[in-house]
Amino acid sequence: MQTDELERTLRPSLGDRITSVEAFPDTAGRVRFRREAALDVFRSVHALGFHHLSTVGGIDWVDHREVFYILWSDDTRQYVVLSTDVPASDAHVESATPVWPSANWHERETWELVDITFDHHPDLRHLLTPDGYAFHPLLRSFKLHEPEELEVKARHV
């Protein structure tokens, strides 16, 4: 399945609930969607044959955060990436567990490490960090040590 084919299949049913379908290396493509429409997108993509949810992860882009879902289809033998942006001040998205039960632990991990809340998650507890751990290690604001001085003045070039 090519990226444009993916867009042709998804666009009619989802309309502007997906913002774009773009190329992504070694996969069928990356579907960017609005977070309000998360469950609709999940169901549509699941109906396309992507029954296996490989992983859920988050990226902290400082001003906003990105949640991505990597899915696999046994029919087309391809991966597809779903991704949505959530504002850092209000980082939450609908849980994918009703569609893919395997999202359970991946979302727990993303919640505790990247600080993205998954609404209606059945069991949102700490997984890798201890209960009550107040930090979110995978945020850019969580520094392992003081940032190196990387400012290089023009005359040194």
Binding site: P25, H52, L53, P101, W105, T129, H156
Partner: protein
């Protein structure tokens, strides 16, 4: 006996690592389980954000301590894509060599631990003995037995030493009849079948619903193997079968892993032949200077050289000994990867543990969890 929760772990012979399986039992029957992870969480994804691309390799060896080279391969595939580097073909064959040997070593380690779990004492040492031969081979060309640090962005660190392929063939010739011995010791025993048949059932549909991959999925009859379905490196040029079984139980997983080892031997013979016939470079020649050698100070010069380098994302998926492993590397400029995300197969396999443990007995936990092949290092990362 009334209901009670027992903690199997974090120090418990069944866990083979550092995790805690909380089990609610009534008598000896399991009513509920709740795995507690995180005892080995080292934040590998976070530390990777603070390291140069080649320095992350060190962490990969420690991600799964029995399948270090497979994880190096996984990371290298993603990192090279993010960095727009392509390794020479010989390096790719060498990586496949590493991965397949690592698969056998990992499965042998699994075999040793698994038979110990069901009380078979001697095969434990047989498995360890034969795994040692492979570790010796690793030592002869990577210099280490566990933390190899062999692969690099753009290829592998060094070529094979002279005479390696013959030594490797000797090991493979020794291994093949051993697999038959293993089968005799396990499948030939009635008690083994009594302990393992029909245990830990998880159908293919359930596996896919819960994200379970690898030998567990293949034991349910689903022929999914990323080496075959989505060939990476040079797997499309190699001839092998995907091992499947139809029991969906502990015995099925045993059969799948045994067959996988045989197929790995088959692949390795082909790879060794190819390596004999095609000498060549093992590193890409057009490498960006700032990549440097690992642990060489890159510093300011590196940063400057890096500034004009194109951004990119890398995505790779390999069939690790335990199942489907993914890596997602974001290169946003800068010396370090912006974000690295790994998907561990055991993570998902463990997450589904409620679905293949509940209803069985406490005494069934060791064989079932043994058949899952838990490697805590890659679950917690």
């Amino acid at each position: 006996m009334s209901e009670m929760w027992i903690n199997m772990g974090p120090q418990h012979p069944m866990t083979h690592g550092l995790w805690n399986l909380r089990v609610r039992i009534e008598g000896e029957v399991i009513l509920d389980v709740d795995p507690e992870m995180g005892y080995l969480h080292r934040g590998i994804e976070k530390i990777s954000e603070d390291r140069h691309y080649n320095e992350v390799i060190t962490l990969m060896d420690r991600t799964c301590y029995v399948a270090g080279l497979a994880w190096e391969h996984l990371y290298m595939l993603a990192a090279e894509e993010a960095l727009h580097i392509r390794p020479p073909e010989r390096a790719q064959y060498l990586r496949v060599l590493c991965e397949e040997f690592q698969r056998i070593a990992s499965h042998l380690m699994w075999y040793a631990a698994f038979v110990q779990d069901i009380g078979l004492m001697s095969p434990f040492l047989y498995g360890m003995r034969d795994r040692d031969l492979i570790l010796d081979l690793f030592q002869s060309y990577t210099g280490a037995r566990m933390t190899y640090e062999y692969m690099r962005a753009g290829g592998v660190r060094n070529d094979l030493p002279p005479g390696f392929t013959d030594r490797a063939r000797k090991v493979l010739d020794w291994l093949l009849p051993r697999f038959h011995e293993y089968d005799q010791l396990c499948l030939g025993s009635d008690i083994f079948h009594k302990r393992c048949d029909g245990l830990g059932k998880l159908s293919a549909e359930e596996c896919i619903r819960h994200g379970v991959t690898g030998p567990m999925l293949r034991s349910a009859g689903r022929k999914r193997d990323l080496r075959r379905d989505r060939p990476y490196a040079v797997y499309d040029q190699l001839d092998f079968e995907v091992a499947v079984a139809d029991g969906a139980d502990v015995t099925g997983r045993y059969l799948v892993r045994m067959e996988e080892m045989r197929q790995s031997v088959r692949i390795l013979y082909q790879v060794l032949d190819w390596l004999d016939r095609h000498p060549g470079p093992v590193m890409a020649d057009q490498l960006p200077r700032w990549l440097g050698a690992p642990y060489a100070p890159v510093g300011r010069e590196g940063y400057l050289l890096k500034r004009n380098y194109p951004k990119g994302v890398g995505f790779s998926a390999i069939e690790e000994p335990h199942g489907e492993a993914l890596a997602y590397v974001v290169n946003e400029g800068g010396e370090h990867p912006y974000r690295v995300k790994f998907r561990s197969p055991v993570f998902a396999n463990l997450a589904a543990s409620r679905h293949y443990l509940v209803g069985y007995r406490v005494a069934d936990i060791p064989p079932i969890m043994g058949s899952v092949d838990v490697c805590v290092g890659e679950v917690d990362r």
